[in-house]
């Protein structure tokens, strides 16, 4: 019965597909599979990384972000800044054209920056304009930026402020029109131009062979959406796609055995970090005006307890079980993926249960009633911690189980509970109605975002999720925010990581790696030698060429 139906189908398919092979010429098309889709192709309102991957291909910006974490000039050929670091003057290259043939001038840049700055309802890009006081275009090839503060990381702000064509966007510049503009045509000036975008289906781009800096060697690229990562693996195995942007760690071994498929792993392009959040807010710092309840377990305010838990945590086991080995042990909130800002000299707390027990014994946390759970030094309260995680997390349940087992070894009991992400946000901060949360951050190439998360100033806003407060750390945070010298700023930032690490603000279980795969019989030139892996980024896409 199945057979019959199948033949009917095959017959129908054959007849119909016979009409399909009418193509003339053979453009070189790279087919990329991913398990997502841009939420929108309007840079103003986009949130998902998939959207930013497409923006990087279709638009140009003042700077380009390299895979090693450094920046190089994009549409500008030179830049100078005033001694006080408040005025930047960019010289824009001549002869850059948008995909519709119109020239890209300083006027377009001024228009784009003003658009981003005036639209409070742009969730991400608006934030990058915080320190830009004004943008002026005295002539077609000059941009003068005046900043409100001498910030050291202007590059990382401008790199995502894509240059839009004024002649298309000006009719949508006012009010909610900008956010509602669908931008399906997506006229930009980048190395690829939009051919067709179908949400949740595919993004079809064609090469802009006239690009001023990096004309692609291929003719077209298609990003196709697959709803599940397992299907992605099947698609690259059978050769339906040439590269996949993500895959489950469980499939790595299968794919490694496959001829013509190479699997690569490394730090992700967008720095991400998983964290174990300890509620350590003190009663004095409790943000009562912002709704703070501050019901955290008092033991977690004691560094000794957090230190003992750090020693009781077998990070390698967590990596091996939760990530199947595709991760590196975490140190602080600044992940290895941010490159030069990552302090790689910090020596991790060794996994040593005896030492952890010793620390707790010495600090007076004894198990007086012999039930296997320690009590507070004054005997008032057992060390039973609530542990929550967002219910949409795939890794957190396993992580929680493992931590619960490991910490039980040192007389600490945990009550595990998955929680709806919104409910968890409401519980977390600035309410501080929790003991331990397993969560994570994604961040900018610049570390100041994740450093700020540990500063006292962010307690009332709820972004400081631990309630950690250290005047020395806050002082250094303020210093790095205005330090223009790269080396000095790096020293400050490394010092801050050391402080946070010594205070055991968080336990960072691991930095998860990206796993991608490509077919070796289709294209060559993928950038795989860097610490970071992002084959779908513009850096690789403009380099790849067909295998001869």
């Amino acid at each position: 019965m199945k057979q019959k139906i199948f033949y009917v189908f095959v017959l129908a398919a054959l007849i119909l597909s016979a009409c399909g092979n009418l193509a003339g010429g053979q453009p070189v098309v790279a087919r990329v599979g991913w398990a997502g889709s841009p939420d929108t192709v309007n840079p103003g309102t986009a949130i998902l990384t998939e959207a930013f991957t497409i923006f990087g291909l279709v638009y140009d910006a003042m700077y380009k972000l390299n895979l090693d974490g450094t920046f190089s000039l994009g549409v500008a050929e030179s830049v100078e800044h005033s001694d006080d670091g408040l005025v930047y003057t960019y010289k824009i290259r001549d002869g850059i054209k948008f995909h519709d043939g119109q020239p890209l001038t300083a006027k377009d840049i001024k228009f784009s920056y003003d658009l981003y700055k005036t639209h409070d309802d742009f969730p991400y890009i608006n934030a990058y304009t915080t320190y830009i006081e004004s943008t002026e275009a005295p002539d077609d090839s000059t941009i003068v930026l005046t900043l409100s503060e001498a910030i050291p990381n202007l590059e990382s702000q401008l790199v995502f402020m894509y240059i839009l064509p004024e002649h298309i966007w000006k009719q949508y510049a006012e009010g909610s029109a900008a956010a509602e503009f669908e931008n399906f045509e997506m006229i930009g000036s980048g190395p690829f131009k939009m051919v067709e975008y179908k949400q949740n289906e595919f993004v079809h781009l064609a090469a802009n062979k006239d690009h001023f800096a990096t004309p692609p060697k291929i003719d077209e690229v298609i990003f196709q959406t697959f709803e599940s990562q397992d299907v992605l693996v099947q698609a690259i195995k059978s050769g339906q796609v040439d590269m996949i942007m993500e895959m489950p760690a469980t499939a790595v071994e299968t794919l490694k055995g496959e001829a013509n498929v190479a699997v690569v792993n490394g730090a992700p392009f967008a720095p991400g970090v998983s964290d174990i959040i300890f509620n350590q807010i003190t009663p004095e710092n409790c943000p009562k005006d912002a709704g703070g309840l501050c019901t955290g377990h008092p033991a977690l305010q004691d560094r000794n307890v957090r230190l003992a838990l750090a020693h009781a945590t077998n990070k390698q086991k967590l990596i091996d079980v939760v990530l199947l080995g595709y991760g590196t042990p975490g140190l602080t909130l600044i992940p290895d993926g941010v490159g030069l800002w990552y302090n790689n000299t910090i020596k991790d707390y060794e996994f040593d249960v005896a030492k952890a027990n010793q620390i707790l014994d010495d600090a007076g946390y004894a198990d007086t009633d012999g039930d296997g759970v320690r009590e507070m030094p004054d005997g008032s309260k057992p060390l039973i911690f609530r542990m929550n995680w967002p219910s949409d997390s795939i890794d957190a349940p396993r992580l929680a189980e493992l931590l619960s087992e490991m910490w039980a070894e040192v007389g600490v009991k945990t009550e595990l509970q998955a929680t709806d992400p919104d409910a968890l946000t409401a519980q977390c901060c600035p309410v501080f109605d929790f003991d331990i949360i397993l969560w994570g951050w994604a961040s900018d190439p610049d570390p100041s975002l994740l450093l700020g998360v540990q500063s006292t100033g962010e307690i009332p806003s709820g972004y400081n999720e631990t309630g950690y407060s250290n005047p020395e750390f806050d002082e250094l945070f303020a210093q790095q925010a205005v330090e223009l010298d790269l080396e000095t700023r790096k020293e400050i930032i490394w010092k801050m990581q050391e402080i946070a690490f010594n205070d055991v603000v968080y336990i960072i279980p691991y930095y998860e790696q990206t796993i991608q795969a490509y077919r070796t019989d289709r294209f060559t030139g993928w950038l795989t030698d860097f610490a970071k892996i992002e084959l779908g980024d513009v850096t690789s896409m403009v380099l790849i060429e067909p295998v001869k």
């Binding site: 019965m1 199945k2 139906i5 189908f9 129908a12 398919a13 007849i15 119909l16 597909s17 016979a18 009409c19 399909g20 092979n21 009418l22 193509a23 098309v29 599979g33 939420d39 929108t40 309007n42 949130i47 409070d120 309802d121 969730p123 991400y124 608006n126 934030a127 909610s176 956010a179 509602e180 669908e182 051919v195 067709e196 179908k198 949400q199 949740n200 289906e201 595919f202 079809h204 298609i222 196709q224 959406t225 697959f226 709803e227 599940s228 397992d230 299907v231 099947q234 698609a235 195995k237 059978s238 339906q240 949409d392 919104d422 409910a423 946000t425 409401a426 951050w441 975002l449 700020g452």
Partner: protein
């Protein structure tokens, strides 16, 4: 006259249910915890002004309804608020004009998204249902006529197995098998086809439909076959069939004139109910084969807390179920004279 009253009665109940669903839908999503304006964006740099501007854009700054202030925590307004300036009335007003507001996640009009997706889903389940009905009914008839023979037991076993297969599992198996035979396993068209002649575009879509439709057909065919078989067996045991046999009518005549119409009754109900539910219920098939239909959109919207899209999708699904039940009722009154038009 009586038939008209019956019809009117059924239709007004359907309308009443739809209105109830619309109202329920509206409040359901507003009782959920969390702020849609912040969903997906967890970034310290998102200022109060940003959040407020986003709320204004989505109309979330307005009170949900006026009065009932004591019923907070869901941010109801005071009685001094103009009722026309509340989220509820704006929503209802827009809905009457066919406007379902803007998606929180994609910033596109919900009506636009849903009409695209609904078409894709109807295409998939339409083809699947038709095939499943044709093959299910045929095999069911055949099986019943050859009852208690090897053929019957064979097809019964196959149908039982097919019906009890988990849809996603069957889908994944077919997907793996198909991908090794060069069949497309994701989406509904090959990118770049839109510049081709219409006929080859359709051919391309048909190719993409192959595996999902096959999955759908196999699963539902089993169900139809089983119901057709048992209801036909029932009918065939009736005295009037014996009479027909005694009159010397051929097998074909007995089936066509005496048995099938009666045996179809239970099947009509099942088909109608299935039609309604499958609009929202092909989620598994759509997810396995990345088919951009309503089911996939609903899952995506749920993950992103895209309330306007969810509201719209729930409304569509509810309307589909109600309409197909209405159709079943009407078809019943036509097929079965015993269903009194009271």
């Amino acid at each position: 006259m009586k038939r008209w009253r019956y019809l009117l009665n059924k239709i007004s109940w359907a309308l009443f249910t739809i209105i109830f669903v619309i109202i329920l839908n509206f409040f359901l999503f507003r009782i959920l915890p969390g702020d849609p304006a912040r969903a997906g964006v967890r970034d310290p740099r998102l200022t109060k002004e940003n959040i407020e501007a986003i709320r204004v854009r989505y109309g979330l700054d307005k009170p949900i309804v006026n009065c009932f202030e004591s019923l907070n925590p869901i941010k109801l307004g005071s009685c001094t608020v103009n009722p026309l300036d509340t989220q509820f009335f704006i929503y209802m007003g827009n809905l009457l004009q066919g406007d379902m507001m803007i998606s929180f996640h994609t910033n596109r009009p919900v009506t636009e998204i849903l009409s695209e997706r609904l078409g894709n889903t109807i295409l998939l389940i339409g083809a699947g249902q038709i095939l499943a009905i044709i093959f299910g009914v045929l095999f069911g008839m055949f099986s019943a006529w050859k009852a208690r023979t090897a053929i019957d037991y064979g097809s019964l076993t196959i149908s039982l197995v097919a019906w009890s297969l988990p849809t996603f599992w069957l889908g994944v198996i077919l997907l793996f098998w198909g991908s090794n035979h060069g069949m497309p396993i994701a989406g509904m068209s090959t990118p770049g086809m839109s510049s081709y002649p219409l006929l080859s575009q359709w051919g391309d879509i048909a190719k993409h439909m192959l595996l999902p439709t096959l999955t759908y057909t196999i699963v539902y065919m089993g169900e139809y076959m089983l119901i057709m078989r048992s209801s036909l067996l029932d009918v065939l045991s009736e005295d009037y069939i014996l009479t027909a046999k005694a009159k010397g009518l051929s097998v074909f005549q007995i089936l066509k004139d005496h048995a099938i119409t009666n045996a179809m009754l239970p099947l009509v109900t099942i088909i109608a109910i299935n039609l309604g539910f499958t609009v929202g219920g092909v989620i598994q098939i759509e997810t396995v084969f990345s088919w951009p239909g309503l089911g996939m959109t609903t899952v995506e919207a749920l993950n992103r807390r895209d309330f306007p899209v969810l509201q719209g999708a729930f409304l569509l699904i509810a309307v589909a179920v109600i309409l197909s039940n209405l159709l079943a009722d009407l078809a019943y009154s036509y097929l079965d004279p015993r269903v009194k038009t009271e």
